[in-house]
């Protein structure tokens, strides 16, 4: 083995290491509410993410403060989330969201950040299936 081959092997190993380290946490970017309820021991109190749909009718704002209360659901179970701050513009009931923060043993997820997860669907504001003319250049 010439030194160059060794250097190349090291470079390849470094990239593989980066891939491993980079995706280790990213592989499971967020937990589902069902998984959150199953958390035990050291996973509680860690900074984690919970993701799912913001349950319809669960969003409560508090008058005079930035406090936000809502439930994130995966269809089977739901998690109560508390957040103080301004969520992204597209945050709304019935849409995907991911909360970053801590799962408290008393059964509340205290979020310090809210992300919006949108679906892979893109559709124009008009109904494409109705065959109506798309309203280009809307006012």
């Amino acid at each position: 083995m010439s030194p160059r081959w060794i250097a190349l092997a090291i470079a390849a190993a470094a990239i593989l290491f980066l891939v491993y380290r980079g995706t280790e946490q990213g592989l499971v970017y967020y937990y589902t509410p069902t998984e959150i309820h199953a958390l035990t021991g050291t996973d509680i109190e860690k900074r984690i993410r919970v993701g799912g749909l913001v349950e319809g009718g669960s969003l409560q704002r508090t008058e005079g403060s930035l406090l936000l209360k809502f439930r994130i659901s995966d269809g089977a179970q739901a998690v109560d989330v508390l957040f103080s701050g301004a969520p992204p513009d597209l945050f709304q009931e019935g849409r995907g969201a991911i909360a970053e923060g801590q799962w408290k043993p008393e059964g509340v997820f205290e979020a310090d950040n809210i992300l919006v997860k949108h679906s892979e669907e893109y559709q124009p504001v008009y109904d494409a299936s109705s065959g109506s003319k798309p309203p280009y250049r809307e006012p």
Binding site: R4, L8, A11, A12, I15, L18, V19, G22, T23, Q25, G26, L27, V28, Y29, Y30, G51, P87, P88, D89, L90, F91, R95, I98, N113, I114, L115, V116, K117, H118, S119, E120, E121, Y122, Q123, P124, V125, Y126, A128, P134, P135, Y136, R137, E138
Partner: protein, 220 residues
């Protein structure tokens, strides 16, 4: 030949940009923000396509040991670096208003950043090797090893749970609803393909004569 090609590429890109920002309908949920997909998605396809090109040219270079394959590989790697940067850049601008973050370490984003590093590493590696024949060999082997990242990028949103949404395009997805959105994405992709071809052409011509000049000893 390179001039009409370049002209056509920019013409198409201009038309695509106009359609994306002016004529395309608003999106039902993301409103105006989604317009960046007209550049983000085609450039993401391009960064994969250019790497496929890089891998192919590298394999040919190893096999045939002709300099022109090595040169084609360089051209493809340089174009790929640009497309990967465009993908990450448009993704970040789009991510801030839609997701709420410029960047996050989810599997799709991380594997794409790694591709940028692989491209940059390829160009760096070439800069360090002096002997053209050895440089061609090492670079080609490196490029082939780096290919592993492509399936990771493609399947990241299916294999792992990510913030990035799943594929919107292709068999069994149908995420792009309505002809206008689909057509403009495809149009811009073609503009990028032509741009790639034009870059390849022009860059390749700058490489070819230089080595030609290196061969005879010039005495003065």
């Amino acid at each position: 030949m390179s001039r009409p090609l370049t002209l056509l590429a920019y013409l198409l890109l201009f038309a695509g940009t106009y359609l994306a920002f002016v004529e395309a309908p608003r999106e039902a949920y993301q409103q105006e923000f989604y317009r960046l997909i007209y550049f983000h998605v085609p450039s993401a396809w391009m960064m994969m396509l250019t790497y496929a090109g890089l891998a192919f040219f590298s394999a040919m270079s190893l096999w045939k040991k002709r300099e022109r394959w090595d040169h084609l590989a360089v051209c493809s790697a340089e174009a790929g670096t640009v497309f990967t940067a465009i993908t990450l850049f448009t993704g970040a601008i789009w991510g801030k208003p839609v997701w709420g973050v410029w960047w996050t370490w989810d599997a799709r984003l991380t594997t794409t950043l790694i591709l940028l590093f692989i491209y940059a590493g390829y160009l760096l590696l070439r800069a360090f090797a002096a002997d053209p024949a050895r440089r061609a060999r090492f670079a080609a082997i490196y490029a082939l090893i780096g290919f592993f990242d492509l399936p990771l990028i493609h399947f990241s949103v299916q294999w792992w749970r990510t913030l990035h949404q799943g594929p919107s395009f292709g068999p069994g997805t149908g995420g792009l609803v309505g002809e206008p959105i689909r057509i403009i994405v495809i149009l811009n992709f073609h503009a990028f393909v032509l741009l790639y071809a034009s870059w390849m052409w022009r860059r390749y011509r700058t490489l070819a004569p230089v080595t030609h000049m290196e061969a005879p000893k010039v005495e003065s």
